[in-house]
């Protein structure tokens, strides 16, 4: 009975799933395919395979300047948000202080706050404090908005850490500072890398906050957006394809690291180890 009903329902379910996946991924497929189409974005079906748009792209210095800007902003944001996020996560994990639950909420707030609010308020802050919108303000904006991501990831990492290891370190004569550098941080390595990759990816394609804070130097998403206003060219498809490929690569790495850091101390994992050794 159950079996026959699942068999009856399965084709519909499969069809539904196909539609959902098509809805999500077909536009990306189209984007990638047309980056290799000689006749540009017009015309169906695509004809005349070419790598010409990639040649055009590689010669386009303003695109590459914006890529460089984005990389600088992303790298700096990773450094600052990981640094501050680690401190916040440590405070949440081990310090007891009045207003801790309020602090937790405030730290995590930017995660759900609309980018437009973050961007606008940071712009006003920049204006009040006499900062000119530039890559520096963009970097501050990204780092501020992404501290919450770093805090969440690192807090999860700290929660999994076996505190007896830190006690063992103190017991063996290491100062709290030595213990932090030699035991706590190495144990957080996977969480740090995972959080870093996630923040890097989020910063690379951030538009809303960036839009309010940008000066004369465009980041890549804003450069693409600016060009779209003048009409779409396959060169945009080409750079978008490259972004897509590198984003997927980063996310795959992030996913694997996360699975490793989650699974490394699980009982099943240890059992398997015990059986093989």
């Amino acid at each position: 009975m159950t079996r026959s009903s699942t068999v009856r329902r399965a084709p519909l379910l499969a069809l539904y799933a196909t539609f959902v996946f098509a809805f999500i991924y077909l536009p990306i497929v189209v984007l990638v395919v047309y980056s290799f189409n000689r006749d540009g974005v017009g015309g169906f079906p695509p004809r005349h395979f070419t790598l010409g748009w990639y040649t055009v792209l590689f010669a386009d210095s303003s695109i590459w300047n914006s890529v460089l800007n984005s990389l600088i902003v992303a790298a700096a944001s990773v450094a600052l948000s990981l640094g501050l996020g680690l401190l916040a996560a440590l405070a949440l994990d081990r310090a007891g202080f009045p207003g801790k639950s309020l602090f937790r909420r405030l730290v995590l707030l930017p995660l759900i706050l609309p980018g437009i609010i973050t961007g606008l308020s940071l712009l006003m802050f920049a204006v009040f404090s006499g900062l000119h919108p530039s890559l520096a303000t963009v970097f501050l904006g990204h780092a501020t908005a992404l501290i919450s991501v770093a805090t969440t990831e690192l807090f999860a990492g700290l929660q999994k850490l076996d505190r007896a290891q830190e006690e063992a370190s103190l017991d063996l004569g290491a100062t709290p500072w030595q213990t932090f550098w030699r035991i706590t941080l190495p144990n957080l390595k996977l969480s740090l890398i995972a959080a870093g990759l996630l923040i890097f990816t989020l910063s690379m394609d951030e538009i809303a906050v960036t839009f309010f804070l940008i000066g004369r130097d465009n980041t890549l998403p804003l450069e693409i957006w600016a060009r779209l206003r003048r009409g779409i060219t396959p060169e945009i498809n080409a750079i978008s394809t490259l972004i897509f490929v590198s984003s997927v690569a980063l996310l795959v790495i992030w996913y694997h690291l996360r699975a490793r850091s989650l699974g490394a101390r699980s009982p099943e994992f240890l059992e398997q180890l015990g059986e093989t050794s």
Binding site: Q165, A168, L170, D171, L172, P186, K189, S277
Partner: protein, 359 residues
């Protein structure tokens, strides 16, 4: 002007032979008295075991000595130095943790070297001492292995080497064998004991296993609900338990509750003469003190009684009987292995066997 030196040695502990001294140590956690006024001396080179049920406070004692917790009141002294005011990393005490707490990102060798490295020991000395420590626990072949690659027993050895390489004055061992299976456990007990004899380091060993405590210790400190019940050598504590709790916790016993009246002890069906004062009494009578009596010769120094065998548990080297002396009074009797026993038997124990214990 005084003729005495300006700094009289007032701060020295009363007994200078003690390596470690707990003076009236108490610990409260959230309005619960985990430890109540513990005073205990540990002599240099001694193997002292803190024995107790889970929740008796034995691990808390270790954590206070290691410095992971602060006593609510009282003082801890080590070799004439106040220990409880020092942070954990300044105490010359090392711990073998219950689940070893090895550093997973470091090899066995780096785990052992850790304590020496953080104290900036010269590299050549580190290499020599780590090798010596690994040899001591027979783990030379595993220097490069990560902890996850080692078995429980091997991790245990590395944890031991990691602590001993620092040449602590006092080694704290928190139920170090509880995670091992029975056979390995027996083997490690033997190795631990001979290692302690060999290097002469003072061991403070925590366990809930009374057999383990008896087999290894010079002295046992029995903890009950955060207070010391009795501190004595295994032989002393077994032969002369101070309280009913101790008598039942260490080994098996029969607790005989009764009274003394007019020079006669009466505990149910059992009666024997005594010159102690009248009043309620509890005696501990070990099962092996009772024998089956085959002949009819009555000795004045013995107490005879008749009882029915209810149960017989075969134990390989001996058998445990549960016998009924009438009126529901049951006793446990350990006898040499013989044939099956049934029905009424004559039993006997010597007058000097029952040990009077406090409630």
């Amino acid at each position: 002007m005084s003729a005495f030196p300006a700094n009289p040695p007032q701060e020295l502990p009363a007994k200078s032979a003690a390596l470690l001294e707990l003076r009236n140590v108490a610990k409260r956690f959230a309005a619960v008295d985990v430890l109540k006024n513990i005073s205990l001396n540990i002599a240099s080179g001694e193997f002292l075991t803190l024995l107790g049920e889970s929740g008796s406070g034995k691990t808390t004692v270790l954590r206070l000595i290691a410095g992971f917790a602060q006593p609510s009141s009282g003082e801890i002294w080590m070799s004439g130095e106040r220990l409880d005011l020092l942070p954990p990393y300044k105490r010359r005490v090392n711990t073998v943790f219950q689940n070893y707490a090895l550093f997973p990102h470091l090899s066995a060798c780096d785990n052992v070297a850790y304590g020496l490295r953080v104290k900036n020991t010269p590299t050549s000395e580190i290499a020599a001492r780590v090798e010596e420590a690994l040899r001591m626990v027979k783990m030379q072949g595993f220097a490069a292995s990560r902890p996850a690659r080692l078995s429980g027993g091997q991790q245990q050895r590395i944890a031991l080497a990691r602590a001993l390489v620092n040449r602590p004055r006092l080694l704290l061992l928190d139920e170090p064998l509880s995670a091992l299976d029975a056979n390995l456990r027996k083997q490690m007990q033997g190795e631990l004991k001979s290692l302690q004899r060999e290097i002469g380091v003072t061991f403070l060993f925590v366990t809930h296993d009374q057999e383990e405590a008896m087999a290894l210790s010079d002295r046992i400190a029995l903890l009950r609900d955060g207070a010391l019940e009795q501190v004595a050598s295994p032989r002393e504590i077994y032969a002369h338990p101070a309280t009913a709790y101790t008598a039942e916790f260490i080994g098996q016993t029969n607790l005989l509750r009764g009274e003394i009246r007019g020079g006669m002890v009466t505990c149910g069906a059992l009666r024997w003469p005594s010159d102690e004062a009248d009043g309620a009494v509890i005696f501990s009578l070990r099962p092996e003190a009772i024998r089956i009596c085959a002949d009819d010769k009555r000795q004045p120094s013995e107490v005879r009684f008749r009882a029915a065998v209810r149960q017989q548990f075969y134990g390989g080297s001996s058998e445990l009987l549960e016998v009924d002396c009438g009126n529901g009074q049951t006793l446990r009797v350990r006898v040499p292995v013989g044939g099956p026993l049934a029905g009424e038997q004559d039993f006997v124990f010597s007058l000097c066997d029952p040990t009077r214990v406090a409630e």
